[in-house]
């Protein structure tokens, strides 16, 4: 998303920005005078950026919770105790009572961990499916142009103007409600976003010299797209995907608000916020904690994505490796060196 298709920056002339290649890019202000002696490892880069490091830790925790939670918790997330209804967060009721209980007396901590798995198993596949399908069609359409491009774009228009609510209701009440159906709907409704972005970039690239050259040398369209267009388009698409990650989680939550999202006894953060909204005045922790979980997860994902973008872009990487003082100077708008 942050890429500028018409930006004649260094990446555009460089068909494959190799992530591990520290070689001085021609315009790179930092690397030019002092070529790095050896490739900077990704963890070194990560360690150099405290925010990115913190974000990575948060994401790691969320992933661990999602994967190991069910094993560690047993049935703690389902265990009800109506006498323990709506206990505020406290230290008096063991680990499971740390974050309080919901109206059915279930441990909020256990439910948050349990919900992490469902949330990710909706959001990740939905984002990945729409990313893969949307980008593939988009690049294909943009590369070929003409009728194929028009057709693909009109399909995107059709999907965009279709109410996702109707799709959700159909999936819920006509087919059996399941996580898979929800993933399908979210994926379908997000395809146009990738399709349009990929198409725009590919359409812009297809007239570039290196693409022309590949074509002249007889490379097939599939190979050209894969080798020359994909690498340049990918960073943008991945950035779109990170933003979309939060969008998908929020859409799932909004569907729960309207009663057509994840169905209990399955639980996701979005459903927890939606169900907890009625307790905002009396038991804040029920709606606020899962909301915070959504926010910190998506913010961490965005930070990591921004960092990964810098780290894989030779023209920008100096911002991560350069010593602090020089970075500060650069940040003031003075050209370093």
């Amino acid at each position: 998303m942050t890429a500028t298709p018409q930006d004649p920056g260094p990446t555009a002339q460089d068909p494959g920005p190799a992530p591990q290649d520290p070689g001085p890019a021609p315009q790179d202000p930092a690397a030019a005078p002092r070529p790095a002696p050896r490739p900077a490892r990704w963890w070194t880069l990560l360690g150099g950026d405290r925010f990115a490091a913190a974000a990575a830790v948060v994401l790691g925790l969320v992933l661990t919770a999602a994967l190991l939670g069910p094993v560690l918790l047993g049935d703690a997330a389902e265990r009800q105790d109506l006498r323990a209804s709506l206990r505020p967060p406290s230290l008096d009721h063991g680990v499971l009572g740390l974050l309080g209980t919901d109206v059915l007396g279930r441990s909020m901590l256990a439910r948050l961990i349990d919900a992490a798995g469902t949330t990710l198993s909706v959001a990740l596949p939905a984002v990945v499916c729409s990313l893969v399908i949307g980008s593939a069609i988009g690049m294909w359409a943009g590369y070929h142009g003409g009728l194929r491009e028009s057709a693909a774009m009109r399909v995107a228009d059709v999907i965009l103007s279709f109410p996702s609510l109707l799709l959700a209701v159909v999936a819920l009440y006509v087919f059996t409600p399941s996580v898979a159906n929800l993933v399908l709907i979210l994926a379908i409704t997000r395809i146009p976003v990738y399709l349009r972005t990929a198409r725009a970039e590919a359409a812009e690239l297809r007239s570039r010299l290196f693409v022309d050259a590949a074509r002249t040398f007889g490379a097939g369209s599939g190979a050209t797209i894969y080798r020359h267009i994909l690498p340049i388009t990918l960073p943008t698409l991945l950035t779109v995907a990170t933003v979309d990650f939060s969008f998908v989680m929020l859409t799932e939550s909004s569907l729960s608000f309207l009663g057509i999202g994840i169905q209990p006894p399955d639980v996701s953060w979005g459903l927890m916020v939606a169900q907890g909204r009625q307790y905002l005045q009396t038991a804040w922790w029920i709606a606020v904690l899962p909301g915070v979980a959504i926010v910190i997860t998506t913010v961490s994902a965005t930070i990591i994505a921004a960092w990964a973008r810098l780290a894989t872009d030779p023209a920008q990487r100096w911002r991560l490796t350069a010593p602090r003082a020089r970075r500060a100077r650069a940040n003031r708008g003075e050209t370093p060196s």
């Binding site: 009440y173 009663g259 209990p264 038991a283």
Partner: protein
């Protein structure tokens, strides 16, 4: 960096800004037409206006749809009136547009009508209007909701007898005909019989002033009303589907009365609880294994902790139930009480059934409707958890109204497997016949099964009147619990009416269906 005060002046066409502006200009900014469409201001009419916030906009205001909650709340006894009304507290029938009624022979009722009543448009009310209203509700093509609701196929013959009397003849003797007639709102004979009317004319204390679709309905006092004049010269209805927003409107002084609040938002200052006549229950489909075994059905009844559900989930705004009708309805059996849960005995019953080859592990769908009552999905989760403790395999399915109706009404969906349906039954009529014929007859429209013995009892009870009717229906409800166990009763519910300190109004069991504006008075805070 300097804050950008203005776009660059010289050269370099500011295309980015132009593009941004163009994008925004795509959507017509047609001034603030919507927001300022009502000049009466935020408070919706200022002094002298009673402001009510409903849960949803009424689909129509046609009086013959008054048995729909959203329509009835606005129309009934405010805009139009019935011939006879039922006092929701005592259950007695009271005269309204009819002053007197009596049975002249087993199938004929005669009603004397009030004189000196006029409709909002100035026409006088006569027997012809009364006959027309009954005909329109029961016989016309308007597809009146009230028709099926209380008449359900009954044949009626209505004749006028002069300008002030009416005779109604039924094919079969009908001891509760006056009660049925209390559901028909009277409209002038000029009302359309082909389509529902959007802004009806009636005889009530208020007349429709303006219905701004999607925004509000404004009423003004009918100054030629035959009864006592209501306190407020104007009334205004708005609707918000989010209960916490409705509560906030009362707290913020934006409304005086509000439909159903959630217990979480209710305080003593903004609300008042009232029995709303609704009873929640779990209907078990006795035609499908494992629910076709009475031991399994009874075990479910024994394991459910109605007390905890009523106290915790319904926030004490409910009483554990052991039958489908609350106190006050003819047929309520005072001897039936919800027993405390007995896990061991229930477990033993299920084990017994399993030993006899009942497939107790088969998946049961527990179906509930979103928005059925506050905390419905939590209730479903509690029921599922408690049933699962018996070793039953229960899966929750939350639906919307349309999908819920598919399961609620005959013919039931095929291939759905065993279904435990969470229902909420409100007997608006005050007579057990309406409940039993719907929910307990073997072929009742909302009943999955029954027994021939129970059917006979119900039929016999329907022909009786007075105390014998009461006892007969009470025995029917006891028999359902002992011999049929189609229903696991949860609770008799209480509703929460949002009420600001500025008004005096005592809700009763009918408040959810008809909110009488004439009963609302301003509170005299200076201690008068």
């Amino acid at each position: 960096m300097q804050p950008p005060a203005r776009p660059p002046l010289r050269g370099g066409r500011p295309r980015a800004l132009a593009a941004a502006a163009a994008l925004v200009a795509l959507t017509p900014i047609s001034a603030c037409a919507v927001a300022n469409s009502d000049d009466t201001g935020t408070t919706g009419g200022g002094e002298g206006t009673l402001r009510i916030v409903l849960a949803q906009e009424p689909p129509t205001l046609d009086p013959c749809d008054a048995s729909l909650t959203a329509t009835g709340a606005v129309v009934r006894s405010n805009i139009s009136e019935p011939l006879i009304e039922r006092d929701p507290t005592s259950g007695e029938l009271e005269p309204l547009l009819a002053t007197e009624w009596h049975r002249t022979d087993p199938t004929t009722w005669r009603l004397d009508l009030r004189s000196g009543v006029t409709f909002h448009d100035g026409q006088p009310f006569t027997a012809e209007d009364a006959a027309f209203s009954i005909d329109r509700a029961v016989h016309s093509d308007v597809a009146c909701n009230v028709d099926g609701y209380v008449f359900g196929g009954t044949e009626l013959d209505v004749q006028t007898d002069g300008a002030a009397a009416l005779t109604v003849t039924t094919a079969e003797p009908d001891p509760v005909l006056p009660l049925r007639l209390s559901f028909i709102e009277v409209v002038p004979r000029t009302t359309s019989t082909d389509a529902k009317v959007r802004t009806p004319v009636g005889t009530g204390p208020y007349a429709i002033d303006k219905w701004e679709t999607g925004v509000s309905i404004a009423l003004r006092r009918n100054d030629s009303y035959w009864g006592d004049a209501p306190a407020y010269p104007r009334a205004r209805y708005v609707w918000r589907s989010e209960p916490s927003v409705r509560a906030a409107m009362i707290d913020n002084g934006e409304a005086e009365l509000s439909a159903a609040l959630n217990p979480e938002d209710a305080t003593e200052d903004n609300s008042v609880a009232y029995p709303n006549n609704e009873t929640t229950a779990l209907r078990l489909d006795g035609t499908q294994p494992p629910l076709d075994d009475i031991r399994v059905r009874k075990a479910i009844g024994m394991v459910i902790d109605q007390g905890a559900i009523a106290d915790v989930l319904f926030a004490g705004l409910a009483d554990p139930a052991a039958q489908l009708v609350p106190d006050g309805v003819v047929g309520h059996n005072a001897d039936l009480r919800a027993a405390p849960p007995d896990f061991t005995a229930a477990r033993a019953l299920v084990a017994d059934a399993a030993d006899d080859g009942v497939p107790t592990g088969k998946r049961i769908s527990l179906i509930a409707r979103n928005g059925q009552f506050p905390r419905v999905s939590e209730t479903a989760e509690a029921l599922q958890y408690q049933m699962a403790r018996l070793g039953l395999n229960v899966r929750i399915q939350m639906t919307d109204s349309a999908a819920h109706l598919e399961y609620q009404l005959r013919p039931f969906p095929k291939g759905a497997g065993p279904v435990a349906l969470l229902i909420m039954h409100g007997n608006q009529t005050g007579d057990g016949a309406f409940t039993t014929s719907q929910y307990l007859l073997s072929d009742g429209p909302q009943s999955t099964f029954g027994t021939a013995a129970l059917d006979e009892r119900i039929a016999a009870a329907g022909a009786l009147s007075g105390d014998r009717r009461q006892d007969a229906f009470a025995a029917v409800f006891a028999a359902q619990n002992d011999d049929v166990a189609q229903y696991v009763h949860l609770a008799h519910m209480r509703g929460l009416l949002g009420r600001s300190a500025d008004v005096r109004y005592e809700p009763n069991s009918a408040t959810g269906d008809e909110l009488r504006l004439a009963d609302v008075r301003p509170a005299h805070r200076k201690g008068s």
